[in-house]
């Protein structure tokens, strides 16, 4: 008897989110199959995208081999972002680390002005992340949203503590929200439920927190897997959003990545590949060579 492989069909569809406008835009999500289940019925119209990360100040703790590709532009976020574009990134993530009260506590107005400059200078979409300090982000992110009015950027992290104030600003100025919760599916859903009361679900991206290989990556992996399963198999409306894996910073914090370049590239590349398998729709990296590495791995699939 001939063997016929079973084919699954699913009911859930991940919302498709557009970041940016016109020819400066990209789409993520939109799939109605589990990650890489190409043998099942359904499709993923938007293969995973990759962003490279830019900081709003000179990095303090980056190893030489990570600084190297950006050495001449490292003190100029605009030029740095342009370099990322040249190096083949699908998007740039600008992280406003200097706004952190424990770093430079730089002002929301400065952050807004810089965000606008970067967004205008590049021809690929921009993602903007605050420092992660929920109180300061509640001041900074609304300013950023206003400065970049109408550009339809992806801005975050929107957290449980500041979703009302940040969410309203993003809505008013026409942006997408990256909703961050700490590695917990129940909290992740709760944040989406609360945000969705006034914010459109099709403009939300889930940031479930991405840990690095050897530093808890399996938690991120199974969480992303579960978000996709609950969305695509059981059609939970509050988890059918695309996922952002913000992993570069986590990888380059590790001792292993700092030690040697080869290790660092593999650390970032393997973490990215793993989270891609788990279902991430857009992944944030730091090193252009790990970006190249993972793109090659995908293309030779």
């Amino acid at each position: 008897m001939e063997y016929k492989a079973p084919v699954e069909a699913y009911t859930g569809v991940v919302r498709e989110v557009t970041i940016g406008k016109g020819n400066k835009s990209l789409k993520i999500g939109g799939e109605n199959i589990l990650p890489l289940h190409f043998f099942d019925q359904g499709s993923n119209p938007n293969p995973a995208k990759f962003a490279l990360e830019v900081l709003d100040m000179e990095p303090q703790d980056w190893p030489e081999h990570l600084l190297q590709p950006f050495k001449d532009v490292i003190s100029d976020p605009v030029k740095w972002a342009k370099r990322c574009e040249e190096l083949g990134a699908d998007a740039v993530l600008l992280r406003l680390v200097s706004t952190d009260p424990a770093v430079k506590d730089s002002s929301a107005d400065e952050a807004g002005a810089l965000a606008k400059k970067v967004a205008e200078a590049i021809n690929i979409p921009l993602i903007i992340y605050g420092s992660g300090d929920d109180k300061k982000d509640a001041e900074v992110l609304p300013k950023v949203a206003e400065a970049c009015d109408g550009m339809n950027l992806l801005i975050g992290p929107v957290q449980k503590e500041n979703y009302e104030i940040v969410g309203k600003a993003l809505l008013e100025h026409g942006h997408n929200a990256s909703a961050l919760s700490p590695l917990d599916i129940n909290l992740l859903k709760e944040l989406n439920v609360k945000l969705c009361k006034f914010f459109p679900g099709e403009k939300i991206v889930i940031d479930p927190e991405s840990a690095a290989l050897g530093y808890g990556m399996e938690y991120s992996f199974s969480l992303m897997e579960r978000v996709k399963q609950i969305g695509i198999i059981t059609k939970d409306n509050m988890t059918m959003m695309p996922i952002i894996a913000d992993l570069g910073g986590e990888c380059w914090k590790t001792k292993q990545a700092k030690e040697t370049k080869a290790q660092g590239l593999l650390w970032e590349g393997m973490t990215a590949l793993s989270l891609l398998l788990a279902g991430a729709n857009i992944l944030v990296l730091r090193h252009p060579e790990s970006l190249k590495l993972i793109k090659e791995m995908i293309e030779t699939r």
Binding site: I185, K189, V193, K194, T239
Partner: protein, 295 residues
């Protein structure tokens, strides 16, 4: 359904102070209120009880028995406190609890035989919590066989499948469903045994104002699958109404949800909708979040 009143519990500050200061009124008020509300047993959860064990247990048991004509459930992990408590009970008490752990089998089960009382036996073993229905059944069959050999008949065994908080990432919801399946087959594998659960654990970690709803719905669901008794709050009027059959429409809605029937939420009152949504969470159909009523 037999309700074992949970309110005399050392975790409650007022109770622990009352025990320490021998304030009979606080304890007796709680005992009376629970008896009047329809409890079948009164649970005395005394914790580890490290000092003045014997004297304290004697005082507590007789203080409660002065005002409530109900059998008691002596709830402690300390075998000395357990025996001291059981010894003074006028009505045939419940030993709460034993398990399949070696030390529990060696200490608690012989005590249940010696005092000729009923005994709660949980599915936990030396290996910890059995992860699925089959291993839970296997575990309880082993421990029940051990108890039978000691001379404790199935009729005196109250099986506790152990409820976990539904709010714990994924696992809690899976366990909520597992326990329903477990109870459905329990009677077939161990004829004559009774069953019980520590109900409020299902809502541990959930915002306080939402806990009673989860407790109530889950108790109705457990009741449908044959649960005999529950350690629960008899002072929750709605909970008691539900199990007394005074809220037939709600009970029917919960049963329909369990059976996977389509329910038209638009035709229901807000309260009924909340009951249905909660049942869906407990059936593992909807992913839990603290905002489960809002979506």
């Amino acid at each position: 359904m037999v309700i074992i009143g949970e309110n005399i519990h050392v975790i409650a500050k007022a109770v622990s102070v009352a025990i320490r200061e021998r304030d009979a009124k606080v304890i007796q008020d709680l005992a009376k209120a629970q008896a009047e509300a329809g409890a079948g047993y009164i649970d005395l959860n005394v914790g580890p009880m490290k000092k003045d064990t014997e004297e304290t247990m004697e005082w507590l048991v007789s203080t409660v028995q002065e005002v409530a004509d109900l059998p008691l459930s002596i709830d402690t992990m300390n075998p000395v406190a357990m025996e001291a408590g059981l010894k003074h009970c006028k009505k045939r008490p419940l030993l709460n609890s034993a398990s399949g752990k070696t030390d529990s089998k060696e200490n608690m089960l012989p005590l249940a035989k010696k005092r000729n009382c009923s005994v709660v036996i949980s599915v936990i073993t030396d290996k910890g919590m059995p992860p699925d229905v089959d291993s839970k059944i296997e575990s309880i069959m082993d421990t029940a066989a051990y108890a039978n050999e000691l001379g404790i008949p199935n009729e005196d065994i109250w099986v506790d499948p152990i409820i976990l908080p539904v709010s714990t990432a994924g696992e809690g919801q899976r366990f909520a469903v597992t326990n329903l399946e477990f109870l459905k087959i329990l009677e077939d594998v161990l004829p004559g045994v009774k069953s019980t659960v520590g109900l409020s654990n299902v809502s541990n970690g959930v915002p306080d104002e939402l806990r009673p709803l989860l407790n109530r719905v889950y108790l109705v669901m457990l009741g449908k699958t044959g649960l005999y008794s529950a350690i629960a709050d008899p002072l929750d009027k709605e909970l008691m109404s539900l199990i007394k059959g005074e809220m037939a429409k709600i009970v029917e809605l919960i049963h329909k949800t369990m059976d996977g029937e389509d329910i038209d939420l638009a035709a229901l009152s807000q309260k009924e909708v909340e009951y249905v949504k909660t049942a869906k969470v407990l059936m593992g159909e909807t992913l839990y979040s603290d905002a489960w009523l809002e979506s």
